[in-house]
């Protein structure tokens, strides 16, 4: 019996960092390694969830359904999970992945919009999948408001509801308060999904565990959106040193990180200024690479794009707003140059 259940999302959240270019061979190598290490759940999807392959979020190199078939085929012990965002993916996607052999469906909404997930959570349960409700950008509302939304997801049938720090904006107190309130008031399990913008992903996960969190997400080497996720191998090592039973072999997962995932990583997991700003200003992590690209395309500063997105209250999925903001900044720059 482990003290919590680990879900590795390298092949979903990590997909953002690779612009959704994972290949079937890479999926097999990563799933094979994590399965051997004892990671109990492995998530595989486009970074923006099922159906995310698009102009707005980036087209997948390989159809995610093919990647999922490879993952299911490769896993001996681990369950394969998917993420889906109502409004992007549809119920048909859930039916297809259930047929492929996916065992865990994670249904994600912005933290105030849980009621759009009712049909999807109910369908995933009907299809026999374990179902997780995934409340994104959970730093934006109070713990009490978050609890109301979590209760909705629980009422639709979610087996677990996650506190998702999509912007990497939570301090340890923020994480602790939210997890504690949900644990005290829900029958279902509670999970935490942390990002590393403030260099607190492992610390926030451990703080959540102190409050009794049941499920924790990591990504091997931290490969993920924005400044990256909670690095799976570091979380496992830190917890094992703290006497927490993770069920994962620290040495094997370190090998997967070093030998399989790190060579794919486009840049070492450094928290640069843009990554830090996302956490500081509370901006959705997946915007990072899109903002860097738009900055180059329109000759404006990525920092200005990210801060403006924060001011406008952009939520997850609004990648199109990055183009909008960049075009406007370009125009403002041209106007101020003309008037100077």
């Amino acid at each position: 019996m482990t003290d919590f259940r680990l879900t590795d999302s390298t092949l979903r959240d990590g997909s953002h960092a690779l612009a959704h270019q994972f290949t079937e061979d890479q999926v097999r190598a990563i799933v094979g390694g994590l399965d051997l290490a004892g990671v109990p759940v492995i998530e595989v999807s486009h970074g923006d969830g099922l159906g995310g392959s698009s102009f707005n979020y980036g087209f997948s190199h390989t159809d995610e359904k093919l990647l999922l078939k490879a993952a299911v085929d490769e896993a001996n012990r681990a369950k394969i999970a998917v993420l889906m965002l109502p409004g992007i993916g549809t119920k048909e996607d859930l039916r297809e992945v259930a047929d492929i052999g996916v065992q865990v469906a994670r249904i994600a909404t912005h933290c105030t919009e849980a009621d759009i997930s009712e049909q999807h959570i109910a369908l995933a349960k009907d299809l026999g999948m374990e179902t997780v409700g995934f409340l994104m950008m959970a730093h934006m509302i109070s713990p009490e408001e978050l609890l109301d939304q979590a209760k909705l997801m629980e009422s639709y049938g979610a087996d677990c509801v996650y506190v998702v720090d999509s912007a990497g904006a939570m301090t340890m107190d923020d994480a602790r308060e939210r997890v504690a309130l949900l644990k005290a008031n829900l029958e279902s399990q509670v999970g935490i999904h942390a990002h590393n913008n403030l260099s607190l992903a492992v610390a926030n996960s451990i703080a959540a565990l102190d409050e009794g969190v049941d499920q924790i997400d990591g990504c091997t080497t931290g490969l993920g959106a924005g400044a990256g996720n909670c690095p799976t191998e570091i979380l496992v090592a830190a917890l094992e040193r703290s006497g927490v039973h993770t069920g994962v072999d620290p040495f094997t997962v370190m090998d997967v990180a070093e030998e399989v995932v790190r060579p794919l990583q486009p840049h070492q997991g450094v928290i640069d200024r843009d990554g830090l700003l996302l956490g500081y200003a509370g901006v959705y992590g997946s915007f990072l690479l899109h903002a860097k690209r738009a900055a180059e395309r329109f000759g404006v500063d990525s920092k200005d794009i990210l801060l403006e997105l924060g001011r406008r209250g952009a939520v997850g999925g609004q990648e199109d707003m990055i183009i909008d903001v960049a075009v406007e900044l370009e125009r403002q720059a041209a106007e101020s140059q003309a008037s100077a």
Binding site: G87, T90, R297, D324
Partner: protein
């Protein structure tokens, strides 16, 4: 038919029309705000639902359905039998999809037409405008609306929005493959409805011609939705792009904002406004054709 938010906003738009007269507002709740407002405008009201309408069918020519898909599916054949033309604002999909500036002629001789979705009304004109002057192997739209402007029906059936809109991008817009994404944004004050339209462009397009076609189409929509506007000139990007509709050397992006006329909804709810404005336009076209036929 329907005295909720959509029906009430529609009533105010129809009252402004010089081609249509609003002769009844039909609801099921005697205490509804919509019915009270209709009475205040001097319109006959009832809370006895569609059966009242069917009994009085000879008094009317057109019924605008702003109830639910279930109600409309049930009554659509009865309306037709009774000689009533139906303009359907629900997702029932009984009749063909219609966008006023693209295929209004579809509406003229059909017993029943469907108004697609708010996102469809906002984005299909752009795809059609591009498709008029260039081949569009793939079109994708992202529609973002204020959380406050999305009622429980939309929220529970968000797949209806994405699927219905995707199909309209193909069937009405002319894209080979269409994809629609919907986002709800809870920011306060509520955000104005915004839409981003991406069209993949096949070999052989002319940037200036494509841009002009888009800008002209926006002006046509502005005739019935004054708050419909481009946030910038169309943006062209060089690919190549491997899209679900095939590979394309380039794409064009149109960034749109839809501010409502605030007839009943606040101005941010451009998504609701564009539906009722488009339905009014379709009703006017049906009425004009009927008048012509009978004269």
């Amino acid at each position: 038919m329907g005295s909720g938010n959509i029906g009430t906003d529609l009533m105010y738009k129809l009252l402004k029309s010089d081609k249509l007269s609003v002769d009844a507002m039909i609801g099921i709740d005697p205490a509804s705000d919509g019915l009270a407002r209709a009475r205040a405008e001097g319109i006959e009201t009832t809370h006895e639902g569609a059966d009242w309408l069917l009994e009085r069918a000879d008094d009317f020519d057109i019924v605008f359905e702003a109830t639910t898909a279930g109600v409309h599916r049930h009554y659509a054949p009865k309306y037709e039998q009774a000689g009533l033309r139906a303009v359907d604002l629900t997702p029932a999909k009984v009749g063909p999809n219609v966008v006023p500036v693209v295929n209004i002629e579809e509406a003229i001789n059909r017993p029943n037409v469907n108004m697609i979705t708010c996102g469809g009304q906002a984005t299909v004109p752009i795809v059609a405008a591009v498709n008029d002057v260039a081949a569009v192997p793939y079109a994708e739209i992202v529609s973002t609306v204020a959380s406050k402007s999305a009622g429980p029906g939309t929220r529970q059936n968000i797949d209806e929005f994405t699927k219905t809109t995707s199909r309209a991008l193909e069937e009405v817009g002319g894209a080979t493959v269409g994809k629609a994404i919907m986002i709800l944004n809870p920011a306060e004050p509520p955000i104005i409805m915004r839409n981003t339209v991406f069209c993949a462009l096949a070999e052989g397009f002319d940037e200036e011609v494509v841009a002009k076609s888009i800008i002209d189409k926006v002006e046509q929509v502005q005739e019935y939705v004054p708050g419909y506007r481009l946030k910038s000139d169309p943006v062209f990007d060089q690919g190549p792009y491997e899209t679900p509709g095939g590979s394309a050397p380039a794409r064009v992006i149109a960034l749109l904002e839809v501010e409502g006329a605030a007839d009943y909804f606040p101005p941010y709810a451009g998504n609701l406004d564009i539906m009722t404005a488009a339905a009014t336009k379709v009703g006017e076209a049906i009425a004009a054709a009927q008048t012509e036929a009978s004269s």
